[in-house]
């Protein structure tokens, strides 16, 4: 490569590009595998096919079957193997086809991955990433649409992440792979191609545990994460045409989560509406609501609003109306504003 070509390549590499969320995932994996030979990627169908959603497309061709490979159909083995590899010094990134299939791997996640560092007094650790598509909106019925993040946020030792933009997906996944802790990385599948945005041409990471303010506002804090984020934006748009100034916050990480940013926001706006598509009972947003009333009770001008999924198994035919869409979100905001 000539010096001129190299300079041109560097220039090209520094140009920001607009890509979709799944491409961001693929790019993050590609770049991390290039950077560190300890990074290996496996799961069901991730090799030649590139995964059911094609998140790993082309990676086996680039990095070979030793580093990108299909395993037997066994979530317990996929997660368990990731634990054993991490203990031995690799940086495994395991894919579970759908978050709904994590059940058989659940014990490996909560009993092995989450506790390895603690129970061994720091003698061992399990720095691994489990990537899995989650959430509804793709007509998948209850075995392809659930939002099980709360099970994992309830287990100390795990980090739980769910991006909603290509920038965050790429930066957070890189941070997850480079980190020293086990990370459950939920990818909102309905945003894989629907969410487009700019990513820098250069290497970057997004710190796990920091929320993002998507738009600033002064009347109400609208807080969500993952697949519902575009609906929060739509609701905020609708309210702004009515003259309401909405602050939209994307949590991005659930454990650890950015309590400080949320509390500061609610102290400023006086109202909070929390949105997620997971069933309401034991929903992670219950934790957010507790934190707000604990730290910003005196600032509250209205009860904290919550829009969640219903406490039923995710229905197939009623897919769209199950999800908290812009209308339901807007209505909750209006209720808080009119209190």
């Amino acid at each position: 490569m000539t010096a001129t070509q190299e300079r041109q390549d560097m220039k090209a590499a520094s140009e920001p590009r607009t890509i979709n969320l799944i491409t961001a995932v693929t790019e993050a994996l590609h770049e991390e595998m290039e950077r560190d030979s300890r990074v290996v990627l496996f799961g069901q169908d991730v090799g030649a096919r590139g995964g059911v959603f094609m998140a790993t497309a082309g990676l086996q061709a680039t990095f070979g079957k030793e580093r990108v490979f299909d395993t037997p159909l066994s979530e317990a083995s996929i997660v368990g193997a990731a634990v054993g590899m991490a203990v031995r010094g690799l940086r495994p990134v395991a894919e579970i086809q759908f978050a709904d299939y994590m059940g058989p791997g659940f014990d490996q996640i909560i009993s092995q991955a989450a506790k390895m560092r603690y129970r061994s007094g720091g003698q061992y650790s399990a720095p691994l990433v489990i990537r899995t598509p989650s959430g509804g909106g793709v007509k998948g019925g209850h075995h392809h649409s659930q939002s099980p993040e709360s099970y994992y946020t309830h287990t100390p030792g795990l980090k739980v992440v769910m991006p909603s933009t290509p920038y965050d997906a790429k930066g957070l996944l890189k941070a997850a792979i480079r980190g020293e802790d086990p990370v459950i990385f939920f990818e909102p599948k309905r945003l894989y191609r629907a969410s487009k945005g700019e990513v820098p041409g250069h290497d970057y990471t997004v710190k796990i545990g920091e929320a993002a303010v998507r738009r600033e506002g002064s009347d109400l804090s609208l807080i969500g994460y993952g697949g519902v984020m575009p609906d929060l934006e739509r609701a905020a748009d609708a309210l702004e045409t009515e003259g309401v100034s909405v602050e939209v916050i994307d949590l991005r990480s659930l454990v650890p989560w950015d309590r400080e940013l949320v509390v500061d926001s609610v102290q400023k706006t006086g109202r909070a509406v929390l949105v997620s598509e997971a069933p309401r009972i034991s929903n992670f947003m219950g934790e957010v609501a507790y934190a707000i009333q604990d730290a910003a009770f005196d600032s509250l001008l209205a009860p904290i609003g919550q829009v969640a999924g219903f406490d039923i198994p995710y229905p197939y035919v009623q897919d769209k109306i199950y999800l908290p869409g812009p209308n339901r979100i807007t209505a909750a905001c209006v209720q808080a504003l009119n209190y």
């Binding site: 317990a76 690799l90 009993s111 560092r117 061992y124 650890p256």
Partner: protein
């Protein structure tokens, strides 16, 4: 187990050497229950060597006995004995290169740990949850980890060390090392989904993992017949495309020979193997079911297995070879272990208990804000109480 057919008439040297074949109907055995060799002993088993092995086994036996005393004195809360299983664990240890190979153990493996060179002081510290516990008092007694010996942390969930062991073996293959992984479990573990998942994955991935079933025939109160309708455990290996070996787990020579053979086979890049060591848990599952004989097994059964005691078998063998361990010598050895344990207990107890401040450490690589806050809250509470 059918008692070995003994014919003491021909000289030992004239007996055939067994070929270590997988999938045998009867467990492979070198030394009969009365201490007579059934086959020519491999040359390595000199009387000196056998005495050494006997010493390790006796030490583990007496360690168990002392720790039960400690439990009865209320100085610890839980203990799971491995008495009766010494030949299995000490024998297995000899096929493992400590600090080179990796071990994913189960919770009854302290004899294996001792045989691999984990210091007794560390084990006692862990059982006591003292400040000298390398696991920092985080797990209940007996669930230790020892980094130096590559002895990975013990989990209480049954069989969930099996898929990770497969993963460690896969990593070894990826890294191109000559290490192998050894994964142990009891007979009960073979009923768990994780066992089948991990075995299957290891087979499919040709992972260099040696699986060892310490079949002590009881998973708390469920016996082997209640556990599986399978003829035995080792034949299950066939379903996962690996060889399965069946060995008399109370015969240390047989365990060493078979485990070494299987380990070498794994080390040579042939993929995983399973060894079933048929042995017996002489004591209760733990102190929680100390009345085992009253509830789920007969005194006769225990007596029958006491007759197959692996420690006594080596003593009988040595006697047969003309190198008996004199009763005075044996008593001295036992007394030395008891003294040793007593000293280590005093030493471990003297280090005190881990400070509550460390409770929030090692959850993550860095302490997140919410844990720092909880730690501060507890500090205020603890220090407030002290005032």
């Amino acid at each position: 187990m059918t008692p070995a057919q003994i014919n003491p008439t021909p000289p030992v040297e004239a007996l055939p050497t067994p070929e270590i074949q997988p999938f045998t109907a009867e467990p492979i055995r070198y030394v009969a229950e009365d201490g007579l060799p059934i086959h020519t002993l491999p040359a390595a088993y000199t009387p000196e060597r056998l005495r050494e092995l006997h010493g390790v086994m006796l030490r583990a036996r007496e360690f168990d006995r002392k720790l039960i005393t400690l439990l009865r004195q209320g100085r610890t809360t839980f203990y799971a004995q491995s008495s009766g299983m010494e030949a299995t664990q000490v024998g297995l240890a000899h096929s493992i290169r400590p600090g080179h190979d990796w071990v994913w153990p189960y919770y009854r493996d302290h004899t294996l740990a001792l045989a691999l060179g984990v210091p007794m002081f560390e084990l006692i510290s862990q059982v006591l949850g003292s400040n000298s516990d390398p696991s920092r008092g985080r797990q209940m007694p007996h669930h230790f980890a020892a980094r130096k010996q590559h002895f990975v942390s013990i989990s209480s969930s049954i069989a969930n060390q099996v898929p990770p062991a497969t993963g460690t073996a896969m990593a070894q293959k990826y890294l191109g090392t000559d290490e192998i992984t050894v994964c142990t479990f009891g007979d009960g573990a073979t009923s768990e989904g994780d066992w089948h998942a991990g075995m299957n994955m290891a087979g499919a991935m040709a992972a260099p993992c040696l699986f060892v079933c310490e079949n002590n025939q009881w998973a708390i109160s469920t016996n082997l017949r209640g556990q599986t309708a399978s003829e035995n455990i080792h034949i299950k290996a066939k379903a996962y495309g690996m060889p399965g070996f069946y060995v008399d787990g109370n015969d240390i020579v047989a365990v060493m020979e078979v485990c070494t053979h299987a380990a070498e086979w794994v080390r040579a890049g042939n993929g995983p193997a399973l060894v079933e060591c048929l042995t017996y848990r002489v004591g209760s599952h733990s102190n929680a079911d100390a009345d085992a004989e009253k509830h789920y097994r007969t005194r006769e059964e225990v007596q029958e297995w006491l007759g197959r005691d692996p420690v006594v078998r080596v003593e009988k063998l040595l006697e047969h070879l003309g190198h008996p361990i004199e009763s005075r010598e044996r008593a001295d050895m036992i007394a030395a272990v008891h003294r040793d344990v007593d000293e280590q207990v005093i030493r471990a107890e003297a280090t005190g208990q881990p400070d509550w401040r460390i409770m929030f450490e090692d959850v993550y690589s860095d302490m997140p804000a919410h844990l720092r806050e909880e730690a501060a809250m507890l500090r205020a509470e603890q220090e407030g109480e002290r005032k």
